[in-house]
């Protein structure tokens, strides 16, 4: 059973395995051996929890490789209306008010363990898969936008425009809400999300994706050895996306 008040679930698992495999983690992103790749008729396993670790020290200002890859992968068209265009991942530039320290990082759905968007959705269209990925069922979303109101990270977008050139693997719908789905169509095949691949190809390797429940995964090992934080930790949502160097 999950204990809301204690340290979050996967951090506890990390602590248990502390020190075992620290050395192998250093050196940036490396492709994860997806023992969990599944065929289409296999159910999603709850033994897995997909997560992402963002190393802000490697994330380059002005680089938008992750955003571009995401837009390309999911066929997200922009209309030069930044406030109503969809964004599944966006680049954020931060400057510490007191020290002046600057950080660049990508913001995306944080795939909370206790997602507020899922709580508020009247029809249950917003849901969380057993492997922790938060998704929107395109067939039952009525476009009420309550989930957009509830998301603490502004990670959700309402589709304000007519859609063209849709990708068969990433169906979308005007008048419904969408957000980062951790590229489940790729992950289920044992591949990495598009943003992670985009970041790697650009040589930054700032994004590490993997199974947080697997004590031997690279992401678990790394999260175990360095300090990282979840955004808006005060809300106790236990996000699957964490940031180093913030």
């Amino acid at each position: 059973m999950m204990n809301d008040n204690s340290i979050d679930h996967y951090r506890r698992r990390f602590l248990k395995n502390a020190g075992v495999t620290a050395a192998s983690a250093v050196g940036g992103v490396q492709l994860i051996n997806f023992a969990n790749a599944k065929s289409d008729d296999q159910a999603v396993a709850d033994s897995v929890r997909w997560g992402m670790l963002v190393d802000t020290s490697k994330c380059a200002t002005d680089c938008t490789a992750c955003v571009d890859s995401c837009n390309e992968e999911h066929g997200l068209e922009l209309f030069d209306r930044p406030e109503s265009d969809v964004q599944w991942i966006r680049k954020v530039e931060l400057q510490n008010k007191s020290t002046g320290h600057q950080v660049s990082l990508p913001m995306l759905c944080q795939h909370c363990e206790n997602p507020p968007c899922v709580d508020v959705c009247p029809t249950g269209a917003s849901f969380k898969r057993d492997d922790g990925v938060v998704l929107v069922n395109k067939h039952t979303c009525i476009g009420c936008r309550y989930c957009v109101m509830a998301c603490p990270y502004l990670a959700r977008s309402f589709v304000h425009e007519n859609l063209e050139n849709q990708r068969s693997w990433s169906p979308r719908g005007k008048g419904t809400v969408e957000s980062c789905n951790f590229c489940v169509h790729r992950v289920d095949k044992g591949e990495q999300p598009a943003c992670v691949v985009g970041c790697q190809s650009d040589g930054h390797k700032a994004l590490l994706f993997g199974d947080l429940n697997d004590p031997d995964s690279e992401i678990s090992n790394r999260a175990n050895t360095i300090s990282s934080r979840e955004l808006r930790a005060d809300l106790s949502l236990n996000t699957a996306v964490r940031y180093e160097g913030l």
Binding site: R90, K91, L94, P122, V148, M149, N162, G175
Partner: protein
């Protein structure tokens, strides 16, 4: 008290039909606006991913809370046994139903997928306040219909008090639910406060009473019935009490926000630096919507029908402004995801969001109001809803 006689209000004059025709045109333009938004996508509205609920929501919630408050007049008659309110019960229930239908139409037509209404009625996530609201609204409609039937059917009259009490309780739950849509948004500093639930209840009493007084007076005048001005004046005194309560709740809300350091930003925004929202708060909500009507309702000099009705109009303006500030001002203020950092992104996520409503949104909202008036006019034309005569003075 002599038995109350009710009759239908059948307008025959040219101006009656002109008025009805204009209302139908307005309601139709609301439908056209909704269709326009639906085919083009919501980018034709002022709404964005920052301000996801715009002017149509303000109209919808205005009508929905008004519906709950309007039924209070019937409750005073049946539940609290005040004889002089009894003749008003039927109309109060009718206007209440019409307001709820109007509000729900606006709400549904503003959905991204209004065609999926059936999904909203068949798929329920019981953890969602919104889902609860759907059940509460539908339940309210059914209860008020039964309530009306019991009030109108002599054989059932003995049960009308029981249904009245039930409806009275239901109303409180319903408005608590509506307020909680905002109050439970834990991530937003502008909301996330339990006071929004009782505040919405009082706001509903304020808006509902004012709407009822205006509707009742208009119907009596156009139906050439005697209007009991002393009763109107009495309801206005009650409205003044609700206004004071609302003022108090608003005060507590802002005092508690001002006390918490983390909410200083949003407080400063609404009260001092928010441009249109600050203006709406001080100028419309507080001055026009609260202080002036209080003077009108409480100073004997203004105790005349024309002033009282003007006071009610001001109250409605204030209530609308209050909802606008809560709903839109609350979204315009940015979420704080990175405390202690200056933030920049292409999405302007950390600056005040701009929102300017567009014409289709306005038409959709006004169309909802037109629908309410049409519904009331049609029903009182067909069924005896309006008291015919009264022993009190005629003005």
């Amino acid at each position: 008290m002599p038995p109350i006689r009710y009759s239908r209000v059948v307008g025959k004059s040219k101006s009656y039909f002109m008025f009805l025709f204009s209302l139908c045109a307005l309601a139709l333009s609301g439908l056209v606006a909704a269709h326009f938004m639906d085919t083009n996508g919501h980018h034709v509205t002022g709404m964005t991913n920052r301000v996801v609920w715009g002017l149509p929501h303000v109209f919808a919630i205005f009508l929905i809370v008004g519906a709950s408050g309007c039924l209070n007049i019937a409750s005073i008659g049946t539940v609290f046994g005040r004889q002089d309110y009894k003749p008003l019960g039927r109309l109060s229930a009718l206007v209440s139903i019409a307001l709820l239908i109007g509000g729900l139409c606006v709400l549904v037509l503003d959905l991204g997928r209004p065609d999926r209404l059936i999904i909203a009625m068949t798929h329920f996530n019981f953890k969602s306040i919104f889902a609860w609201n759907i059940l509460l609204y539908v339940g309210f409609l059914l209860i008020v219909v039964v309530y009306l039937w019991f009030m109108m059917e002599p054989r059932m009259k003995i049960y009308s008090r029981k249904v009245g009490v039930f409806a009275f309780v239901w109303r409180f739950i319903l408005t608590t639910g509506t307020g909680s849509i905002f109050g439970f948004l834990v991530a937003r500093k502008s909301y996330d406060t339990a006071i929004l639930a009782p505040l919405f209840i009082v706001l509903s009493l304020v808006i509902g009473s004012a709407i009822f007084i205006l509707a009742h007076s208009a119907i009596m005048r156009f139906g050439e019935r005697p209007l009991r001005v002393p009763l109107i004046s009495k309801i206005c005194k009650l409205l003044a009490l609700f206004l004071c309560l609302l003022f108090y709740m608003t005060l507590v809300q802002h005092l508690s926000f001002s006390y918490a350091t983390e909410r200083h930003g949003v407080e400063k925004f609404i009260l001092a630096e928010g441009g249109i929202y600050t203006f709406l708060f001080w100028g419309v909500q507080i001055l026009i919507g609260t202080l002036l009507p209080l003077i009108v309702f409480l100073v004997p000099y203004f105790n005349r029908l024309s002033f009282l009705l003007m006071g009610c109009c001001m109250v409605l303006l204030g209530g609308f402004a209050q909802l606008y500030v809560i709903i839109i001002g609350g979204q315009a203020y940015p979420l704080e995801i990175f405390p202690g950092y200056i933030v920049e992104d292409g999405f302007f996520s950390h600056s005040i969001a701009a929102y300017v409503p567009t014409i289709p949104e306005l038409f959709l909202g006004v169309g909802g109001i037109a629908l309410v008036v049409i519904l009331v006019m049609m029903v009182i034309r067909i069924l005896p809803f309006v008291e015919e005569s009264s022993s009190s003075s005629v003005h």
